[in-house]
């Protein structure tokens, strides 16, 4: 028997400890500020959680006034879906030039494209909605514009990543065969990128459906408007009914969309 050797962990170098200390100090500072300046008082409510959940998810089925309103809510939900669709289509089309502009293998000014797309993504969607509602008035039209512009940021970034990953040797062989620039793009680039582009556009539609339910709060149309009014009136039966409609519709859309995306890519 030889002497037992214990395998030692490799020692961390000094840089590691310096970095860890600095990060820890920053984190402690941030948490100190967060915990001391935030007003964390619990104000409570007159409703117990159980009673509220019952009013939200159980009572609506037995309340005639709420059941009467169901077709109206479904119409609002369809409007929400239409806003998201209109916005997603606009976004998906407008994102194409931005995607090409931001792709480093196609564009010479890819940093400009990347900068624009980052700027759009840093804008919270509700701010777009506020600007468009103020500019073109309340209603679904403002919602379509807000969602369309907001979608460009994410879609343009994903598109540019797809374009950057295409097989350039295919393009070369097209060029070697004497294809013009347009022919190269049509036969060489488009078939390579279409499935991914479509898949991302559909994925973005899922996100847009969620955001357009929210944008009604600032007057951009859709089911958000009646929802927020009902919530302000503390009419939890109506809120619960709309919430259930949203959950069901969003789940169905997510399911269909993930099925389509699985077949595409």
């Amino acid at each position: 028997m030889t002497k037992n050797t214990i395998i030692q962990k490799p020692k961390k170098d000094r840089m590691f400890w310096i970095r860890t200390t600095i990060s820890a100090v920053i984190l402690i500072f941030l948490y100190y500020i967060a915990l001391t300046t935030t007003d964390l008082t619990y104000r409570g409510s007159t409703l117990s959680p159980g009673a509220l959940l019952q009013r939200l998810f159980w009572n609506p089925f037995f309340d005639d006034a709420v059941l009467e309103k169901v077709p109206e809510y479904i119409a609002y939900m369809i409007e929400t879906l239409a806003i998201a669709y209109g916005g997603a289509v606009i976004g998906a089309i407008l994102a194409i030039p931005f995607g090409f502009l931001a792709a480093s293998n196609i564009s010479k000014f890819s940093y400009i494209g990347k900068w624009i797309l980052n700027a759009i993504r840093a804008f919270p969607e509700v701010m777009f909605a506020i600007i468009f509602v103020a500019a073109v008035g309340m209603g679904p039209f403002a919602g379509v514009l807000a969602i369309g512009i907001n979608s460009i940021g994410m879609l343009g970034k994903l598109y540019s990543e797809v374009i950057e990953s295409i097989d350039m040797s295919v393009l070369e062989s097209f060029k070697a065969n004497g294809a013009g620039r347009l022919q190269t793009i049509w036969y060489g680039v488009i078939p390579q990128i279409i499935p991914e582009f479509a898949s991302y556009a559909i994925y973005r539609y899922e996100i847009d459906v969620r955001s357009s339910t929210v944008l009604g709060v600032v007057g951009a149309g859709g089911i958000g408007t009646p929802l927020i009014i009902a919530a302000m009136q503390r009419s939890w039966e109506r809120v619960g009914m709309m919430l259930m409609i949203i959950i069901v519709v969003v789940s169905v859309i997510d399911f269909i969309s993930s099925r389509i995306r699985r077949r595409l890519v």
Binding site: Y31, T37, T38, R43, A122, P140, V144, L145, D254
Partner: protein, 272 residues
């Protein structure tokens, strides 16, 4: 149509690039996409020509009503921004802590109980369909107006995202270390501690920062329903049509979000 026929016929000297069946499918898909778009345009009255005509109105509005931003308002906005950031930070911290055990339950290679696994997945899917604003509405009803309901709403909202991302990472890890540690007689907790955690730690941290970015953006809207943060003053100033102040809020939020995104994406790049 005639052009298409020419392309498919080999007699013409051309070889079809796309299969004719593919062409039919693509045509159908295009018809459906365009048909749905027309339906949606009718429903929302957002016709393409109106959109093109509307853009100058929007640009004029931004130039004439939003500029100049009201610089005297900066200190008020700063206070609200810090509150928003604190909400995002605290809620992310909570969800990072709670998402870890949940994501082990939602990972098929750790949680071997099929039924329990499906139940956890189902609940996470339901949580993710609820928009954050509606969570805030519900939590304001539960806990009253204030920052605490905003933190709660963001916590639940990001818990759904984070648990899904982490559980997918866990499902994709290398199974060999798991087996090796299990073979030495380790129980589930020890397997997680010595085989899973070291493998997922970089992604775990990276997703935590990613969720922090999402929460910063999501927290902007929560004030609209009384759940704290910058949304409160944003709503107030918008309904007063005080666009100088609104533009200060928007610009400062934009700068803050950009800085947070930049720092976080730099850190994430170094982690992975």
């Amino acid at each position: 149509m005639s052009k298409q026929k020419n392309k498919t016929s080999v007699d013409n000297g051309n070889i079809a690039v796309f299969h004719s069946k593919t062409k039919v499918t693509i045509t159908y898909i295009l018809i459906i996409v365009i048909g749905l778009y027309i339906a949606s345009a009718f429903y929302t009255e957002a016709y393409p020509n109106l959109i093109i005509a509307g853009m100058p109105v929007v640009i004029d509005f931004v130039i004439y009503d939003f500029f100049p931003p009201n610089l005297k308002y900066i200190s008020t906005v700063m206070k609200a921004l810090i509150e928003t950031w604190n909400m995002a930070l605290l809620s992310t911290t909570l969800s990072v802590i709670f998402a870890l055990p949940i994501s082990f339950l939602a990972a098929a290679n750790i949680n071997k109980n099929k039924v329990f696994y499906q139940i956890v997945r189902f609940i996470l899917n339901i949580i993710r369909t609820i928009p954050e604003l509606i969570l805030a509405v519900l939590l304001v009803a539960f806990m009253g107006i204030g920052v605490i309901s905003g933190i709660g709403a963001l916590f639940i909202f990001s818990l759904g995202i984070l648990a899904k991302l982490i559980s997918e990472t866990i499902e994709a890890i290398d199974p060999n270390p798991l087996e090796a540690i299990r073979a030495t007689g380790a129980n589930t907790i020890q397997v997680i501690r010595y085989a899973v955690i070291p493998q997922i730690l970089p992604q775990y941290t990276s997703y935590a920062l990613y969720v922090l970015e999402i929460n910063v953006r999501a927290s902007v809207i929560l004030g609209f329903v009384g759940a704290g943060g910058i949304g409160i003053i944003l709503k107030q100033q918008t309904s007063l049509f005080n666009y100088g102040n609104v533009s200060t809020i928007i610009l400062m939020t934009f700068i803050a979000v950009t800085i947070i995104d930049f720092v976080s994406s730099r850190v994430r790049e170094r982690l992975l």
